[in-house]
């Protein structure tokens, strides 16, 4: 059985896409075949981290949802980005960055059931071990679907007042949907924080295990989302933390 992992955050700017990309890279380095789906149709971004140009992708998730192609045709093999350490494979299904495409999705919508069918076809067709779903912030219908079909949910939050309420709501919704495994990742924690104190406070507040507390990193900011941190700095302590998260989610 393939493992479906949704990476979600209630608000934007938490580093959700970066986390998804790094998890995918770490799995691929571990020899797994990984699919990454950008379901953030309204504000796509993860393709940038994988160095994918608009022109590189012939088809996008949008095309699949509009019946222009099947889902496998929208999958780009981005294993090259991981470099020689990649012993598995990474396939990215990007969302269209074309403004008209985005507007059309917002205006016309699409058949949400296609999304779960697509995930299924993708896992089967590409014989995936792990499917990472980079979700849209908030709790709209496609996000709820992504969470519902996931074996594991990683909720990314910053230690920021604006993130507390939404994170709590996400956790409760996932609980209603009986997601088998759920973890919180605290991202961009200022160095003045006491890591253990944050971990304890957050896990007690949401009654949910904390996968890791990732400190704010100038090294990571320096990449400006143009590269995968785990590939560029394989020996960085943050990568060790992320690897721990990856292992915990795919137990």
């Amino acid at each position: 059985m393939a493992k479906i992992i949704s990476v979600h955050s209630f608000r934007g700017g938490t580093g959700k896409s970066n986390t998804s990309a790094n998890l995918a890279a770490l799995y691929a380095m571990d020899g797994l075949r990984v699919g990454v789906v950008d379901t953030d149709i309204q504000s796509p971004g993860i393709h940038v981290i994988f160095g994918l140009d608009e022109d590189d992708a012939v088809y996008s998730l949008n095309d699949y949802l509009w019946g222009k192609c099947n889902i496998e045709q929208a999958a780009c093999d981005v294993s090259e980005v991981i470099g020689p350490k990649c012993s598995g494979a990474v396939y990215l299904i990007p969302s269209s960055v074309n403004a008209a495409d985005i507007a059309r999705v917002l205006h016309d919508g699409y058949d949400i059931n296609l999304l779960s069918d697509g995930f299924r076809e993708l896992i089967k067709g590409l014989n995936l071990d792990v499917l990472v779903i980079d979700t849209h912030p908030g709790l709209n219908e496609e996000t709820l679907l992504s969470i519902a079909i996931s074996n594991a949910l990683l909720v990314v939050m910053r230690p920021d007042y604006q993130d507390y309420q939404g994170t709590g709501l996400t956790v409760e919704v996932a609980r209603e949907l009986e997601v088998p495994q759920m973890m919180i990742l605290i991202n961009k924690a200022p160095s003045t924080f006491d890591v253990e104190q944050i971990r304890e406070t957050v896990s007690n507040t949401y009654n949910c295990p904390v996968a890791a507390v990732i400190p704010h990193s100038d090294d990571m900011m320096g990449l400006a989302s143009h590269d995968i941190f785990a590939v560029r700095y394989p020996d960085h302590p943050i990568v060790a933390d992320l690897n721990g998260v990856a292992m915990a989610l795919n137990r």
């Binding site: 479906i4 299924r120 071990d129 709820l144 519902a148 709590g168 009986e178 924080f193 406070t201 949401y206």
Partner: protein
């Protein structure tokens, strides 16, 4: 510069100081001194020595008319040239300004003590004549010219850094110099009118120099008293910028003063203490994270989502969906 010095020497040769027919009013002595300060001892030496020889040549006496005097003139440029070795380029503090004045004083005394000594040793003049006819007139007038002219020239060429400490001492310095100059010139005029003896004039000159030097010493000490607290405050501020708040305790001596600087130091100390406390409070706040969740709002939001038909269907299907979607083999 050597040429100018030589020509100036020739020209000024016509105006002799009272009581001696050899020594003259020579503001140009600052030329070799300044050459020395600018380009080092060798440059100062050649400017002074060769300039002096040129002066004799122009006057028709030949370059080697008085070799020991030319050598003395060279030394007069050589000694200020040592300024670079004492790190007096640029002059940026009272201590280095005082050192510079000492160099100038030496430049105006040692070389001419040597040359008049040679004259006396050669038996060309009596001790009295060497002392009152040559050494003292040259020493006193040259020192005054050097003291009057070298600092402004250095200021113009930016070799004097205008820090507060320097500004304070320079203000008093110029005032002092002007007073001394006025005294000295009036004494010369009085002497020329034969109202006092030449010996008395030079005793007066020495006294004037002593007054000048003592005045400068007092001025240096009092300037230091004004600027030292400012330096201390600056250092304390720099430490605070680096996160070290402890240095402020050392400002007690200043804040106990009853003047404006004391007030400033007191206010500064209070400010630093307040900043330190605020920073500590802030750090304390940040370190212990408080997560607050409005449970009522959360429950209301949750009901909105879970109450929809879409959610109810999704919830029913979820388990099945997970099973079916995860199949990666037929």
């Amino acid at each position: 510069m050597g040429c100018i010095y030589g020509i100036a020497n020739f020209l000024s040769g016509k105006y002799h100081l009272p009581g001696c027919n050899f020594a003259e009013m020579r503001p140009q002595v600052v030329l070799p001194m300044f050459m020395g300060i600018l380009y080092g001892p060798a440059a100062g030496f050649f400017c002074g020595g060769l300039g002096d020889m040129l002066g004799y040549t122009i006057a028709g006496k030949g370059p080697f008319f008085a070799v020991h005097w030319s050598f003395a003139n060279g030394l007069m440029g050589f000694i200020p040239g040592l300024a670079g070795y004492f790190r007096l380029k640029p002059v940026d503090a009272i201590a280095s300004f005082v050192k510079l004045l000492i160099l100038l004083l030496l430049a105006c005394s040692l070389p001419f003590a040597f040359s008049t000594g040679v004259e006396y040793w050669l038996g060309r003049m009596s001790f009295y004549q060497a002392m009152f006819g040559f050494f003292l007139p040259i020493f006193i007038t040259d020192t005054l010219w050097a003291f009057i002219l070298v600092p402004p020239i250095m200021q113009a060429t930016r070799l004097l850094i205008s820090r507060i400490e320097m500004r304070t001492i320079l203000a008093v310095y110029y005032l002092l110099i002007m007073t001394v100059l006025a005294t000295w010139l009036s004494s010369i005029i009085v002497t020329m009118q034969d109202q006092i003896e030449v010996e008395e004039l030079y005793t007066l000159g020495i006294l004037t120099l002593v007054v000048l030097i003592v005045g400068l010493a007092v001025c240096a000490v009092s300037s230091k008293k004004i600027t030292a607290p400012i330096m201390n405050l600056t250092e304390a501020a720099r430490r605070v910028a680096q996160g070290d708040y402890s240095h402020v305790d050392k400002l007690h001596a200043i804040s106990n003063r009853s003047d404006e600087l004391g007030t400033m130091a007191g206010v500064f100390s209070d400010m630093v203490k307040a900043v330190e406390k605020r920073e500590q409070d802030l750090q304390q706040q940040v370190r212990t994270l408080k997560v607050t969740v409005d449970r009522n709002k959360q429950n209301a939001d949750l009901k909105k989502i879970t109450g929809s038909d879409y959610f109810k269907t999704l919830k029913k299907k979820a388990g099945d969906l997970r099973l079916r979607t995860g199949e990666n083999h037929d």
